[in-house]
């Protein structure tokens, strides 16, 4: 029961809400759980709320164990 979707914050519409974008689709979500979020940042959306700000310095498909795997690879 944790279906969460990454979405880009387009703009804060009030103190409590923001418009987000997922591949061109827009919806309004509540940001009371992530009040410091800024437009341009990515958030995890669940049940109409932003649950957490996603750290973009860690990309979606970071290969944490690439080094180790390359050892296995041969």
């Amino acid at each position: 029961m944790c279906l969460g979707v990454p979405a880009r914050v387009v703009e804060k519409t009030t103190n409590y809400s923001a418009r987000v974008d997922v591949n061109g689709n827009h919806t309004e979500i509540n940001i009371q759980l992530t009040p410091d979020v800024e437009p341009g940042q990515f958030v995890l959306v669940h049940a109409g709320f932003a649950m957490e700000i996603i750290d973009e310095s860690i990309a979606l498909e970071t290969m944490h164990y690439l080094e180790e795997m390359l050892q296995y690879g041969q």
């Binding site: 279906l3 591949n23 061109g24 689709n25 919806t27 669940h46 049940a47």
Partner: protein, 336 residues
């Protein structure tokens, strides 16, 4: 007519019915067969096998990005005839109109049907209108029944599908279902996705060159691609093995489905065809399809297998196979 809305009297067969037909439908659809105003249409058809298809359209909302119920009613039946291998010729149209529907809406719908019919090259030759009490219909319900001629060298049936045959889908899936769902009330959700509603008449030219290398075609409407594949697998008694990575889905559709908790493989399409073709000619057919504007995103999504008859399997990104089942019950948007 001075009234702005449809009244029960418009359906009673009297003067008001006559005026409705004259001023809304005949105005929009002028052809000599309809002008004859007989109880039925007298049609001259070439000798050969006749394909006939009927469909009723009960969509809400009546007007949506990418089309309306009128355009849909023509495209839907034309596509069904094309799937039979037929060249669509004539359509009948029947309306069940809810009392209170704005006349302006009906005019737009009739005009839309006329334009679509013109573009496709079919004639609307006979029809019927009834009016029901407010609350008994969603604005208007439309039925269209169409006939077309099947060329002698065409025989499209699921039973002709054989192992090794390839499965092609003519473009991205899920657009129509998503476009409609997103416009239902209660959803504070805006999407750039529009319905893919279209009559695939451009296909006629290409497929006539392939004769019986094409085994069968079907349009994936309600229930989506997954449901149609399952129907064919059962009817043909074969297994269908597809690859997830090869099924085209527009990023906006995928994003919307992620947000709403839906699966694009189960969302309706109104401008797509699934084509089963002999392996040797699959690539050639694909290249031809990709040259047409309507089918430029066509893709070979899988093949027919003698194993797992009646079942559709999908290969995931990891190379594992899982079942792609039929839609069971209502496709409810989920949050969790």
């Amino acid at each position: 007519m001075t009234q702005e809305r449809i009244l029960l009297a418009h359906g009673s067969g009297g003067l008001m019915s006559q005026r409705l037909i004259d001023e809304v439908f005949k105005q929009a659809w002028r052809n000599e067969i309809m002008e004859a105003m007989l109880d039925g249409a007298i049609l001259q058809v070439p000798a050969g096998r006749l394909a006939m298809s009927t469909d009723s359209f009960v969509i809400t909302p009546l007007f949506f990005p990418g089309g309306d119920i009128g355009k849909l009613s023509i495209c839907g039946t034309v596509n069904d005839l094309l799937a039979c291998g037929a060249t669509p010729l004539y359509l009948s149209t029947a309306f069940i109109i809810e009392e209170g529907l704005p006349l302006a809406d009906l005019r737009v719908i009739a005009a839309s049907m006329a334009q679509t019919a013109r573009e496709v090259g079919v004639k609307l030759v006979t029809g019927d209108t009834k009016v029901v009490e407010k609350g008994s219909a969603d604005g208007v319900f439309i039925n269209t029944t169409g006939i077309g001629i099947i060329p002698a060298d065409i025989d499209y049936r699921p039973q002709r599908i054989q192992p090794q045959d390839q499965v092609i889908v003519t473009g991205c899936v899920g657009d129509h279902g998503l476009a409609i769902l997103a416009r239902r009330e209660g959803l504070a959700f805006s999407t750039p996705v529009v319905s893919d509603c279209a009559a695939l008449i451009q296909l006629r030219e290409i497929i006539s060159q392939y004769g019986n290398a094409i085994r069968c075609m079907r349009d994936p409407t309600r229930g989506g691609l997954a449901t149609v594949l399952n129907e064919i697998a059962v009817q043909a008694g074969v297994g269908i093995h597809v690859k997830e990575a090869d099924i085209p889905v527009a990023p906006a559709v995928q994003g919307a489905c992620d947000l709403l908790g839906m699966d694009p493989l189960y969302m309706a399409n109104e401008g797509k065809m699934v084509i089963f073709v002999a392996a040797a000619l699959a690539q050639s057919l694909l290249n031809d399809l990709r040259r047409l504007p309507q089918t430029q995103a066509a893709s070979i999504i899988g093949q027919i297998s003698a194993e797992t008859p009646g079942m559709v399997l999908i290969e995931t990104e990891l190379g594992a196979q899982r079942i792609l089942g039929i839609l069971e019950g209502e496709h409810v948007p989920r949050i969790c």
